[in-house]
């Protein structure tokens, strides 16, 4: 029984990274007052460009680790540019954020699939990045498997959580982000450039979503197909609500969702008499149930979320 539990928990960290990065990125967007439903599309583009670089370098064979690093960097840059593009549409032109987000989602998924067919062809795999067993620590029973036997990006992603918390709650820029998402008019009157702050948050959010996509294609699945993201961008958006726009709670949500995924897989594999259709739904039902019970507590929600800011108009 302990072995089964160890196996389930040891998968939670590596399998939750893509959701974690994307939802932390979305958290920065929403904290600044911008609701980006296009996360899925940005992840798809990140997954594509992230995979393309090591694939082009090695033709699917082994390549220097630096090409993987370059893949992640390119995904972050592309994600930031898509965040910038989304900012032009929603901040400068003040388009409805929900519709623009759906447009970005369709654009990202469609473009990534089309470019993939043009530059790569059919479903292809890459060697990706290996797991690293941290000396000594990885040998600790139970804890070694659960915490110290994962790939480098998984460690970095989890180390980024306290950094994200510090940026959001302890830096002047984080204060600006929270101010423009809560009361942009007051922030504006205090001399904060609302549009610029929102642009910056969108670029950071886009970069993290791009990295999340690249994690899927380089570190987890180690392949690309145009269905690779399969709704994970939308789950990331839901996790932001689940985690009440707080990095630590979002991390808890990502881990809980991933644990539910591994748990339902375990239920199926153990041959327990339980309809697999219900087992597959379990993580999603869990998110809905938790959201239902916690949605009353909206005190941390950015009050200007989804509202375009126009300093020339009284609201």
């Amino acid at each position: 029984m302990l072995a089964i539990l160890t196996n389930m928990l040891s998968m939670c960290i590596p399998f939750s990274v893509a959701l974690l990065l994307a939802s932390i990125g979305e958290m920065f967007n929403q904290r600044a007052g911008v609701f980006n439903l296009g996360c899925e599309g940005v992840m798809a583009m990140g997954a594509f460009i992230g995979m393309l670089i090591p694939f082009a370098a090695g033709g699917g064979g082994a390549v220097s680790e630096w090409y993987n690093v370059l893949g992640f960097a390119a995904a972050a840059v592309l994600g930031a540019l898509l965040g910038l593009f989304f900012g032009v549409v929603t901040i400068t032109f003040r388009a409805p954020q929900g519709i623009a987000g759906i447009g970005l989602q369709m654009f990202g998924v469609g473009t990534a699939g089309t470019l993939f067919r043009h530059f790569v062809g059919g479903t292809q795999s890459i060697p990706g990045i290996p797991d690293i067993e941290i000396p000594l620590l990885s040998r600790i029973p139970f804890l070694g498997d659960v915490f110290f036997s994962h790939n480098a990006v998984a460690y970095l992603a989890y180390l980024f959580i306290p950094v994200a918390w510090y940026i959001l709650f302890k830096t002047p820029w984080g204060l600006k982000v929270r101010a423009v998402g809560t009361n942009p008019r007051a922030a504006d009157s205090m001399g904060i450039n609302v549009s610029r702050t929102r642009y910056e948050a969108l670029m950071l959010g886009g970069a993290l979503a791009g990295l999340a996509g690249a994690y899927l294609s380089i570190a987890q699945a180690k392949m690309f197909s145009d269905t690779l993201i399969s709704g994970r961008g939308f789950i990331a958006v839901a996790l932001v609500y689940f985690g009440h726009w707080h990095p630590l709670q979002i991390m808890g949500g990502a881990l809980l969702f991933t644990f539910a995924q591994t748990f339902q897989t375990q239920i199926q594999s153990m041959g327990i008499s339980f309809p697999y259709e219900l087992a597959v739904m379990l993580p999603y039902v869990l998110v809905i149930v938790v959201l239902s019970f916690t949605s009353r507590n909206q005190t941390t929600a950015p009050t200007s979320l989804g509202k375009p800011f126009n300093r020339e108009m009284r609201t």
Binding site: T114, A221, D226
Partner: protein, 343 residues
């Protein structure tokens, strides 16, 4: 400015929709005796699985019947888009429109009623359709059974894994055949079965496979195109090996390294049969089963791994089973009785 933005967004969405599908054609010299075939698929012609198998079958049939077939295909067709695509093909004078997936059933039946002079086909289905609708049903329990014999024989941990998409169609048949095959040679073997709930979620497929590998499975298989994700996860294991549902998996680096044997649907035989029937005036109303008996399946060992992994006894056992399947159809008619909760 808002109008400009609205137009830009509309163009963006239209571009995305356009980008999400593709259409290609290859043709023989068109003549009076040419049969024009159109294929509508959910994924792509190079998905190393379900869609590629049919595309490859049609192109092979074109080689078998030189100058007889004109062919066109449309990829990434959602069910809601398939109807308009099929109407376009009807307008262009296509004789046979194949909607490759049971999810297209309602669309096909609706189109068949509207255009009685055009032949349609969809599968997997064992239903007998209207007079202008063919169905086809791969009896995949046979190929699953062969892979099960190999997995049940070669497992050292006495644990084998199976990653399925959804429990329906040919995947359900393959998966249950695999279970029967394992049990036929190794009744005490633990068989881990899990479904991803999707035909195309490669990430979830790899996660399920990783879970089963962590639980000790050392022989793995998977069905439908999502199995590529599970194969990729198996390639990460230093000990586990793979048996495949599709020969296209052998063309991948991980398939070369891990896939001991694989089977394939011989859709070329189905297409040739369909062409012959249409030429003789039969437009539908029949179900074409696919099995070893009628040449509907191909099975091969991986030459790169055969010497190391396949003993003469195992090879003889597999070949003997293929001979039984070739001799008569329906050898595994009790495949549907397999209950995963009893494993």
């Amino acid at each position: 400015m808002k109008k400009l933005l609205t137009i830009m967004l509309a163009l963006l969405v239209a571009m995305s929709l356009f980008a999400s599908g593709s259409q290609e054609s290859s043709s023989a010299e068109s003549g009076d005796d040419t049969i024009k075939i159109a294929l509508i698929i959910e994924n792509t012609i190079d998905d190393k699985g379900w869609c590629q198998a049919m595309h490859d079958g049609i192109t092979q049939a074109m080689e078998m019947l030189p100058g007889k077939i004109e062919y066109n295909y449309s990829e990434k067709m959602a069910v809601v888009d398939a109807g308009s695509m099929a109407r376009q093909y009807v307008a262009e004078g296509y004789d046979l429109i194949i909607a490759h997936g049971a999810q297209y059933k309602n669309t096909v039946l609706e189109m068949a009623e509207e255009y009685p002079d055009v032949s349609f086909a969809f599968g997997t289905s064992s239903e007998i359709g209207p007079d202008n609708v063919f169905t086809y049903m791969p009896e995949s329990e046979e190929t699953g059974y062969l892979n099960g014999i190999i997995a049940g024989t070669l497992t050292k941990n006495n644990i084998v894994g199976l990653v399925g998409p959804v429990d329906s169609g040919d995947s359900a048949r393959y998966n249950r055949g695999y279970v029967l095959g394992v049990q036929s040679v190794n009744p005490d073997c633990k068989i881990l079965v899990a479904h991803t709930g999707s035909f195309s979620d490669y990430v979830k497929s790899s996660e399920v496979a990783a879970s089963q590998l962590a639980n000790g499975a050392d022989m793995m298989t998977g069905s439908s195109q999502q199995a590529i994700g599970a194969l990729r996860a198996t390639a990460e294991s230093p000990v586990a090996m793979w048996v495949g549902q599709d020969l296209a998996q052998l063309t991948t680096p991980e398939g070369q390294a891990k896939c001991i044997a694989a089977s394939a649907y011989n859709y070329a035989a189905v297409i040739v049969e369909l062409v012959e029937k249409i030429e003789s005036g039969v437009k539908g109303g029949e179900c074409i089963p696919m099995n070893f008996n009628n040449g509907g399946f191909i099975f091969e060992f991986n030459p790169a791994l055969e010497q190391e992994w396949v003993s003469p006894e195992l090879k003889a056992k597999v070949e003997d089973q293929i001979a039984q399947f070739q001799a008569a159809p329906g050898v595994l008619s009790d495949w549907a009785l397999v209950d995963y909760s009893t494993l």
